[in-house]
């Protein structure tokens, strides 16, 4: 990477760290729509109380993005920072992107608005969910360091398990 090039960043989800506080959903809804409503959140935390599992689901900005491929009008495209974004004037609201997304990360909100995580590009700044994720389940990481961070976390858990610790 050239030093003067903008570094590509990615929102990384570590469900093992998620505590299910839903702060990400509350903040996401508010920074984008100025209202609080989980249905306005671009990130969704799926809860399984009986197993103590909480899984944040959000656009992964896929490299080979099915939503871009399936879009009949070319409204969806990848921007310079690597995010999958939409040209609203081209969009015909056909729902194909929503149907094809394997994560359910695209939806139509309460005002019938097309919604998908844009890593807070539209509201300026780094993703608010990651900034306010107390537990560190959501982080905003340079792409080149993602594997390093993940491997480090996995190794730490193994080490803890080997010494008898570790809740999960």
């Amino acid at each position: 990477m050239k030093s003067n090039e903008q570094e590509r960043m990615k929102l990384v989800v570590d469900p093992d760290k998620c505590t299910g506080c839903n702060s990400c959903m509350l903040i996401c809804s508010f920074v984008h729509d100025k209202k609080f409503n989980y249905e306005r959140s671009r990130i969704r935390v799926w809860r399984d109380d009986a197993r103590g599992i909480f899984i944040p689901v959000v656009c992964e900005q896929c490299e080979d993005a099915p939503c871009i491929q399936v879009c009949p009008t070319g409204a969806l495209y990848r921007d310079e920072a690597g995010r999958v974004v939409r040209n609203a004037t081209r969009c015909i609201g056909c729902n194909e992107c929503m149907n094809v997304c394997p994560f359910g990360a695209i939806s139509f909100g309460p005002d019938q608005q097309w919604m998908k995580c844009d890593a807070c590009a539209s509201v300026g700044g780094d993703p608010y969910c990651a900034q306010y994720c107390t537990a560190g389940a959501l982080t905003w990481v340079p792409e080149r360091l993602i594997a390093r961070q993940k491997a480090g976390g996995a190794a730490a858990r193994k080490a803890a398990a080997a010494t008898g610790g570790g809740g999960r």
């Binding site: 505590t19 299910g20 506080c21 839903n22 702060s23 509350l26 903040i27 508010f30 920074v31 100025k34 209202k35 609080f36 409503n37 989980y38 249905e39 306005r40 799926w46 809860r47 399984d48 109380d49 009986a50 103590g52 909480f54 309460p110 306010y132 107390t134 537990a135 008898g164 610790g165 570790g166 809740g167 999960r168």
Partner: protein
């Protein structure tokens, strides 16, 4: 529709089988700011003194905080209010979880349940559509099964639920209302009140908006409060890592971890019930809505005799109550006990207290083997603890059924001096704080309108655990003795300040642990600002504190209206006046005279009559409670 709050309240009359959506009156919002305050005023207005807590005339009120469903830090709290079947007095019991945002998104700030259904029912709130549904097939089931079947019946596993277990159905005096399968509105028997109404559960799904009057300003205040808590290393790190049991070992070292029913305050092997041990071996953090602290735990036992057990928690209170207070340090058995209390729907504090009370009765030879059906009630018997929990919830056998009445009635029935070591006052079992070592706590526990525990105020500042907190305590107390925990001086000031702060916090629906774990980060000022910018109703810092005092005073009035005097209301369990061998070198630290002195100074500070403890008419007028005065013959 208003901003911040929904301005709507759901009224459910189970006798008539009718639901009604009504606006909240503006004076109620402005005067009480939500949650605990609005609930308290509703309870006052809806009831006459002397009503039967388990009769249809006792309303059961669920109130979200005014900041619930927003990103205000730790704003996932709800207050449940009714007359308590344990104390026959005022009860508020506060609970976290994730139900609050859904209820507000469904369009309601709260729910008042009146009357009694003639058959088991549950309430299904799907946005504005509300139905009273048959709960025949849920009745008798534990809370976990109920939660599962509700989700199955409604066909959505992400709905939010609250429910009672068998303990609530069987009118156990310390039955809890479980909110999700994790959290309990545990104290004072609200679950029995719900059971008396034949109301098994409430399920909620909300998909509407909560709007904000001044979005930019609100965002700024709320996010900066979140950052302040997160950056408070002392508070955040310990709470996140070890949960509420973070201080258990410290309490043990200082000789104030309840042991063998408060006979002393030191447990050998306390490490096995510490937050450190539990968090490292069994648990990971779990959080209520919008939480920054994450003190909640989700614990699982994967091997051994109790393999397969899982439970939210254990909290400090549970580890001490089912653990050290019963002489038990078998962590896995305590986790099992915690699970049983949650699925059967019982308060872990009172349940453990009943077990340790029974164990001390046994120690003193007050029980016959026939009476206890051969149960081994020696200290440390985990089997007895688990067995009694199961039996109390289902009222199996005469002895367990007596214990299910709570320690006041149980000790009066057993007699033989057992009243002296029933660790209860006003009918509520004391939480796991040995107030003999901390005079603020002693005063606060005596004054708490629902009975002796730490959730009307917790004066942690007294311990002065950081230089900043120490200074705060000295400033609030107005004397250096504010941080001398055995001195009575400065304690009335400390208690009044903390009570007002806690009351305001419960009104806006923030978690009170933020108040005292991260002192000054959440305060009268930023709570007032968050309320004002969210709702557009301007409330100053001073006014916000006055609301706190108004709520405390109204709760006092409720109890006075029941005809009780200060001698019946401002009391502690008898054992608190005995010396503890592990505190103050075995010297007596608290006497009735010392407590009286603090109480009288507190009454004066509050503008109450110094000898009777009744708020003066002048004070009531100043708090805009004029004309509400209860029994002033006291």
């Amino acid at each position: 529709m208003m901003d911040g709050m929904t301005g709507r309240w759901l009224w459910v009359d189970l006798s008539a089988g009718r639901v009604e959506d009504k606006p909240l009156e503006p004076w109620l919002i402005k005067g009480y700011l939500g949650g605990r305050g609005i609930n308290a005023r509703m309870l006052w207005d809806l009831t006459e003194p002397g009503i039967d807590p388990l009769g249809p005339e006792n309303p059961l009120i669920f109130g979200t905080g005014s900041l619930g469903g927003t990103c205000a830090p730790n704003s996932g709290r709800m207050t449940v209010t009714c007359k308590s079947p344990a104390t026959n007095l005022y009860l508020k019991t506060n609970v976290g979880s994730h139900l609050v945002p859904d209820l507000k998104y469904a369009g309601f700030d709260g729910i008042t349940v009146l009357g009694k259904s003639d058959h088991p029912v549950y309430l299904w709130i799907d946005d504005g559509r509300v139905e009273i549904r048959d709960a025949g097939r849920l009745w008798g089931l534990d809370t976990r099964e109920t939660d599962r079947l509700l989700k199955e019946e409604i066909g959505d596993d992400q709905i939010k639920t609250l429910m009672i277990g068998p303990a609530g159905e069987n009118l156990v005096k310390f039955a809890s209302v479980m909110v999700s399968i994790y959290r309990a509105a545990g104290r004072g028997g609200a679950g029995a009140v719900m059971g008396s109404k034949n109301l098994k559960a409430i399920a909620v799904r909300g998909t509407g908006d909560v709007t904000i009057a001044q979005p930019e300003r609100f965002m700024e205040v709320a996010l900066s409060a979140r950052r302040a808590i997160r950056e408070d290393e002392y508070c955040w790190t310990r709470s996140f890592k070890f949960g509420t049991a973070q201080g258990l070992l410290g309490a043990n070292e200082s000789g104030s971890l309840p042991h063998n029913n408060f006979q002393d305050g030191y447990t050998e092997d306390a490490y096995k019930i510490s937050g450190e041990y539990v968090s490292e071996r069994f648990a990971h953090p779990e959080a209520c809505s919008s939480c920054v602290l994450h003190c909640g735990r989700f614990a699982r036992v994967s091997s051994g005799r109790y393999a397969g057990t899982f439970t939210a928690g254990p909290e400090y209170e549970t580890l001490a109550s089912l653990g050290s207070k019963c002489g038990i340090t078998d962590t896995e058995a305590i986790l099992k006990g915690n699970e049983l209390c949650d699925i059967l729907g019982m308060d872990t504090i009172s349940a453990g207290s009943m077990v340790s009370f029974a164990m001390e009765c046994n120690q003193r030879g007050l029980l016959t083997p026939e009476q206890i059906e051969g149960l081994d009630l020696s200290w440390g018997s985990a089997d007895a603890m688990l067995d009694l929990i199961r039996k109390m919830a289902r009222r199996e056998g005469e002895f367990a059924s007596l214990l299910a009445e709570g320690s006041r009635i149980a000790s009066q029935t057993i007699g033989q001096g057992s009243e002296q070591f029933a660790i209860q006052a006003k009918g509520l079992e004391q939480s796991m704080v040995d107030v003999r070592g901390t005079m603020s706590y002693a005063l606060a526990f005596a004054l708490n309108p629902r009975g002796p525990d730490h959730l009307t105020t917790e004066c942690l500042a007294e311990i002065g655990y950081t230089p900043e907190v120490r200074q705060l305590a000295i400033d609030v107390a107005g004397t250096e003795e504010g941080v001398d925990s055995l001195s009575p001086n400065g304690k009335p000031e400390m208690v009044a300040w903390h009570e007002d702060l806690y009351a305001l916090t419960d009104c806006v629906g923030i978690c009170v642990f933020t108040d005292t774990w991260s002192y000054t980060r959440i305060n009268f000022n930023n709570m007032a600002e968050m309320f004002s910018t969210a709702t557009g109703i301007e409330v100053s810092e001073d006014e916000a504190r006055r609301v706190g005092e108004r709520v405390m005073t109204l709760e006092r009035l409720f109890n006075l209206r029941e005809g009780l005097s200060r001698r019946e209301l401002d009391v502690l369990p008898p054992r608190m006046f005995e010396a503890s061998p592990t505190l103050a070198n075995g010297e007596r630290t608290l006497t009735p005279e010392k407590l009286d002195g603090m109480l009288e100074a507190y009454y004066a500070l509050r503008g109450w009559d110094e000898s009777s403890g009744v708020p003066t008419e002048e004070k009531l007028k100043a708090l805009e409670l004029g004309g509400l005065r209860g029994d002033d013959s006291a």
